[in-house]
Symmetry: C2
Subunit: 299 residues, 2 copies
Amino acid sequence: MSLLVVGSIALDTVETPARKAETVLGGSAVYFSAAAHRYTPVRLVGVVGEDFPEEHREFLKSMDVDIAGLAVQPGETFRWHGKYQGAMNEAETVSVDLNVFGEFDPVLPQSFRESDFVFLANGAPQVQMKVLEQVKGATLTVADTMNLWIETAREALDQVIGSIDVLCLNENEARMLTGEHLIARAARRLMDLGLKAGVIKKGEHGMTLATAGATCALPAFPEENVADPTGAGDSFAGAMMGYLAREGKTDAASLMRAAAHGIAMASFTVGGFGPQHIADIPIEKVEERVHQLRAICTF
Amino acid sequence: MSLLVVGSIALDTVETPARKAETVLGGSAVYFSAAAHRYTPVRLVGVVGEDFPEEHREFLKSMDVDIAGLAVQPGETFRWHGKYQGAMNEAETVSVDLNVFGEFDPVLPQSFRESDFVFLANGAPQVQMKVLEQVKGATLTVADTMNLWIETAREALDQVIGSIDVLCLNENEARMLTGEHLIARAARRLMDLGLKAGVIKKGEHGMTLATAGATCALPAFPEENVADPTGAGDSFAGAMMGYLAREGKTDAASLMRAAAHGIAMASFTVGGFGPQHIADIPIEKVEERVHQLRAICTF
């Protein structure tokens, strides 16, 4: 079934203890697509500036991503400069230049409006709402968010939450949004918000999935070599949504299997640099890691 | 098979946001026994003062705990006063009075020396070594430790680690001991220390088990009502060791199943107050939660 992603396309500068990569391709929609394209073709909506290199456009096309929704605006592409230290759990943002992404006004091509599976990557809830208003008859709508919007745009975020099926957010964001310290409680509170499911990403601690019937959880794949965590959450979402769109399913058991694919994919993401190396991973390798993940938590 | 625990017996004062319990029965060996006795009879070695209430001794006897190794010394019983706030992840120690436990010189009754399964609860590594020197031909020796000993008695702790089969410690202690931020790496470094297995307790994030062949992990049981986390780690260990002693097994798959029992038991521990309420939980209830835990992470 068709899969739509709306999110950022960025030129990232990423510093890790091991290396510094300058002005490389990044952004939530890119990492999402690099993971999802292994499962099903992706429709992408985003915006770049006139400086966006042709090679990056070619990279998206090489993954069979439909870039009919990729707008080019006068000005520069969104730039993010992040730095990872120590445990590399969280990036310290050195600088952000929203550039054309600051005025992002997503317009979905007519052919994208009836997408079956829709993923709204982290972004201003007002912008996410604009997308939801254009989408018609989707099977599953999923949105990601972040602390910034929970703190500064709660009303708009609540409107998004009231309009989607599944919210995807990280551990501390789940705590912040629900006011619950304990993840098991935060998971249940997400359901009180009227969602069909809540996906709480916990980094090296894996994932908690809240559905109407149960709170489930999976450990992370024990990847020992974390080179660069950039894009881990977006590629998790990409594999999760790609799996669901490929299978055409949205039940709780399918969400768990999809999350396992997300965990497997994210473990590849953190082990290397940039979206290109995920895009190159054969689906068989991901499936092998899904099987390993199953073995890891079987008793 | 026979199961021996050596650890503290305390009179605890515990403050949580909901209530304050003063001078109640606590201590690592007590929580361990309350969990383990459901699986197999427990032999206990510890020390109390002359003030130790008869009712607590009766409680231990009521669980079929062999208290032939319970020494009574002139002076007062070990007292710990802890306070939990906010996320209740970690106790803030208000006060500690080691009293007779400060001079704890464990002497194992002759009948305890050939115990098959031995658990050294958290304590000074020098004291743990004294126990190991008295134990002969054990099938499995497991020790717990804490940040205090990692920081102040590393040499003695290394000697303990070199003499046991399995080390049990919490997430941050594993990081401190191995110098690795990432739990997946810390787990492997534990194996480099010559252990047969490492058990990393991660609270609401579950447990990581390192064995020679693999790094496995289980999520926590999503208990939403955390009343008092005191004794969670010790009752985890009690159920784990109780299960292994009952089954008479020490292979990796059995360790995983044992850890699942530990997680299930610990979820009961945090849901109530004191060791008595764990002691009263029928084994069928624990087994039911083990099955639920399996369902929670099945995909």
